[in-house]
Amino acid sequence: MSEDGKSAPAPGDAHPTPLLDELESGPWPSFVTGLKRLRDAGDKQYAPMMNDLLGQLEHSYEERLGFWKGGTVSVFGYGGGVIPRFSEVAAKYPASKEFHTLRVQPPAGYHYTTDLLRQLCDVWEKHGSGLIAFHGQSGDIMFQGCSTENVQKAFDELNSIGFDLGGAGPALRTSTSCVGHARCEMSCYDEVKAHRSVINAFLDEMHRPALPYKFKFKFSGCGNDCVNAIHRADFAVIGTWRDAMKVDQEAVRAFVRERGRKYTIDAVISMCPTRALSLNDDDTLDVDNRSCVRCMHCLNVMNKALSPGDDRGAAILVGGKRSLKVGDLMGIVIVPFMKLDTDEDYEKLVAFGRRLIDFFADNALEHERIGETIDRIGLPAFLEAIEIDPDPNMVNHPRTSSYVRTDDFTEEADKYFERKARAAAE
């Protein structure tokens, strides 16, 4: 190794990695081979860091334990967005003693030019480890492996070419949206517009963590939910439509001719979860649109023949999260349909997001996700707090327990009929 410790290890100096070496064979691209490319990269500043990183990782493989601990590292002006990592075995692997990650928000829908990717590589080659993950589970580009000293420099360069840090800690987190409008015929709203309008309205909550815990938005253009929003997001926006699905009966006939009646019945008609489909004797399709739940199955199978209706927007489900602390939760339908068409519609989506973030900030306990808050206080109290009326689309079925005080049932029923009358008059 050279005196300043900045050049690649001489061949004899590389940490032996017999266990990791076993992950270089086989047909799938090997991250170990990639790490070694960085270790062996001539006079690059990160080569010694990646040699010691490989050494520490091999040590983990030997001991079957992790050796990173957290800490506090951030950039000027922000409180979050950097995941600090300090090595617990720095004495043995000093060059990777600091190995922080910058979480960076990608373009909505993960679109890049090769030129843009090269710019990201150049920044990270100069200031970081040369290792980038596309993408983390929240949706960030993860620039993995940076010394404390270089975090600010790397951020300044990334920020100056249009990138901003994502979320970490008790804060609004980086969001994701599906490919949607850009390349999908199922898309029921403008995902880019929704994603950017909502997240960019609340950047203060992302960059200066002050919420009880994390809060995630995710945007899927239809019920196929390609960004896994219902499971993973506190606020899931799932595209859907209210009017009848569109049926091209000639294309239905062509599908039946090509695939056969048995396949059409077995794989489409019988798989409809609400028995809303019927194949006519002339091989056209009947759709009971009032029974259809917009699950997307028949559209997925017969995507030339069937498509979403024209009255499009999104359902909003609130409270999805992973296991800690109370166990896994999925989002609950809170808004069965929000029209998403005009600029005003998207402003309403942002305003509703704000209402939920405010509720969360004011009412959640420390380290409690909003789904847990809803469980703790009950859905009726939550709805009252966010000024949303109960709707039968919120439940699988009404309550089965009689343990409830109902002396104001008649007044509540009157409110329901008043709402129905108002909606009918609109």
């Binding site: 266990l19 992790g66 050796f67 990173w68 829908g109 990138f163 939910d225 296991s323 602390k325 380290h367």
Partner: protein, 359 residues
């Protein structure tokens, strides 16, 4: 003393606008797509209402990529595609091209450089995963290594579309389960209560916050050898590891006590059935780097039982709903134990309260 250097204030630009980077045909036909088909595994063909067509070639990556790999993908994108790419939720890279005759040379170039082309339709797509020993501060196992081992085994199913329906697999390195729900989920399962370093607890941990973090109220403040610390009621402890992140001296990991469990039947999509959580199949598998052969064997058995027995469009969980859990355990050869009976909140709703029985 010199003045502190002036710090650059961040430009709070938020989510970058994707339109400058989007393939021109995607930009032109934004919101105007009519239908798509898949000419072969790994290739999508989208047709816009106005007649424009775009072909997408999808390839697997290792997710954790060195700059040389990324630049190689960029070279391929410049030479064989049109300079515009995107990534999927599962870290596959997609190259969009405007002409069919560019598809095969692009596929050939990707395969020649070691990037598998596939992950579309009824394939096993790339595993959605986490960080593990490479970068996480609390991991029970590695993520990249487990995924590399499994994707080597399942490579043949990534490049084909021969499964009954799409297969989405996840891994997680602790019970927080950052990897999420999957048709098959390979997750760390701790088997022993935390080992507490009482010298450090009061220095490192905010004790009331740690007490509050426990889902079964098994942690209480205690004076141990005259030092303020925490103790765990081990008869209550469910070994979830929730106390470890806020209190690293409560070490949940052990080289031999950190195990791996495999779960099945998680589903994100609303297609046909509603979204579901995954369910336990096997626990107590050894955490065995560098290739986790015991885990690989379990995943292989589940995957191929599903492949042989699932009907078209049935996801893993929907297949099991049809054939029943007795048949699932029979076909895969795994044991059904008392640990498969849920004991957590809402457990009763997971029990069979009917005379619907499978024989």
């Amino acid at each position: 003393m010199s003045a502190a250097p002036e710090m650059r204030r961040p430009i709070e630009s938020g989510v970058p606008d994707p339109f400058p980077f989007m393939h021109p045909l995607l930009r032109k036909n934004y919101g105007q797509w009519a239908w798509h088909d898949r000419p072969r595994p790994g290739v999508l063909h989208h047709v816009a209402k106005g007649g424009d067509e775009v072909w997408t070639v999808r390839a697997g990556t290792q997710r954790q990529m060195d700059v040389f790999t990324i630049r190689k993908l960029c070279d391929i994108g410049d030479r064989f595609a049109e300079g515009h790419v995107r990534f999927t939720t599962r870290s596959n890279i997609e190259f969009m091209v405007s002409a069919l005759d560019k598809v095969q040379p692009l596929i050939d170039a990707l395969i020649a450089e070691g990037f598998p082309v596939g992950g579309t339709g009824n394939s096993v797509s790339m595993i959605s995963h986490t960080q593990g020993w490479l970068h996480c501060d609390i991991p029970g196992t590695d993520a990249s290594g487990v995924v590399k081992s499994l994707m080597d085994m399942m490579h043949a199913e990534f490049v084909k579309e021969e499964m009954p329906s799409r297969v989405r697999i996840t891994t997680s390195c602790c019970q927080i389960n950052c990897g999420g729900q999957g048709d098959i989920s390979i997750n760390v399962q701790y088997t022993k209560p935390p080992r507490i370093n009482h010298d450090l607890v009061s220095k490192v941990c905010e004790r009331p916050a740690v007490v509050a973090r426990c889902p079964v109220a098994a942690i209480r403040p205690a004076l141990v050898d005259g030092k303020p610390s925490l103790e765990v009621d081990e008869s209550k402890c469910v070994c979830c590891g929730a106390c470890y992140p806020p209190c690293p001296p409560m070490q949940i990991n052990g080289a031999d006590s950190t195990k791996i469990a495999v779960w099945v039947g998680g589903k994100h999509s609303n297609a046909r059935s509603k979204p579901t959580f995954h369910k336990l199949v096997v626990a107590n598998l050894p955490n065995n780097p560098p290739r986790w052969p015991e885990v690989e064997e379990v995943v292989r058995k589940i995957l191929y039982a599903y492949k042989e027995n699932g009907r078209p469009w049935e996801r893993m969980g929907e297949w099991i709903d049809r054939i029943g859990w007795p048949r699932f355990f029979e076909l895969t050869g795994f044991a059904f134990t008392k640990h498969h009976l849920d004991t957590w909140t809402g457990a009763r709703k997971t029990m069979n309260m009917s005379a619907h029985l499978h024989f």
